[in-house]
Subunit: 204 residues, 2 copies
Amino acid sequence: MPLYPPPLTRLIQELGKLPGIGPKTAQRLALYLVGRPPAEVNALAGALVDARSKLVYCSRCFNITDVDPCRLCTDPRRDDQVLCVVEEPRDVFALERTGEFRGRYHVLHGAISPMEGLGPESLKIKELLRRLQPGTANSPQIQEVILATNSSVEGEATAMYLARLLKPLGVRVTRIAYGLPVGGDLDYVDEVTLSRALEGRRSV
Amino acid sequence: MPLYPPPLTRLIQELGKLPGIGPKTAQRLALYLVGRPPAEVNALAGALVDARSKLVYCSRCFNITDVDPCRLCTDPRRDDQVLCVVEEPRDVFALERTGEFRGRYHVLHGAISPMEGLGPESLKIKELLRRLQPGTANSPQIQEVILATNSSVEGEATAMYLARLLKPLGVRVTRIAYGLPVGGDLDYVDEVTLSRALEGRRSV
């Protein structure tokens, strides 16, 4: 006799496919959901189907969107002269949460990682170069490209690769700053970050 | 302008209602799902709706089931004389996984917890007493009731309450054993567990 009733087995299996959800958590979530009002479970199921069917990648910046081109690409109040290059859609949302950046974005969908067999051709780099060609309708006058890839080995490699590729095009290429995290204790910061923080010091 | 496209906001909100899923995890899961093939997301949505609509509580033992009475209650190879009382459906699955217990179950759906305002009347105790009445069709001859509630304060209180209630009915009432977890280091076990392990020692 199987351990669980078949519909429960199936739900546990499906939940267990999510990243970071192991078999124990999948069982816990499934048993929780079975005890909730049907309307609540149906709302979750509906949100899943709805999100997957309505969301696409923007054909200009490759961020997640329900209208193409996305709202960030078409918002007339944003600055067309500055383009911020990030690895993933979640990085766009992280930057938007700061409320500091008012330019446009370009999502690479990954970073260069020879270990995982990801070369430059698997990222949206061709599409980035196309946006930088002067006179195209998409990008009237990009003056600066901010490389905001992660500060991991892969993110660094990607930023270096892009810097070498973009500089000859006559565009200003910048990299987001390294340093102490705000609220961080000097004592707890690793040596590499601390030497980068010293290197990047600014007059006050 | 909202941070996320509306269908994504809605999915993040719905995922964030799950226990143990905070806003960060909800965003991570939502972005993961948006990048998966539609068939995979629909399979999860389908499993949710299916599980919620098909699963009910067994009218005899109150475990989760898709047929009523459940397979554990109707399996002719199981022993009708021993009844194991647990707090939650997940405890039934945990015990079944051991393959050691071949009797029937009774799920209380909670434990007595004055702190949370849960008294005996909010548990399936009336239903348990009904199963112990001799001569009812449901329970031909229960000889032993194993109290397998958690070893938390609430689980203990529930076991004590049930022991007092059931003993006068002439049924043998037992409590699952306390002791060292198998593979556990004596040194790392708390004092209360260790004294219970001494107390419950058996000749070898």
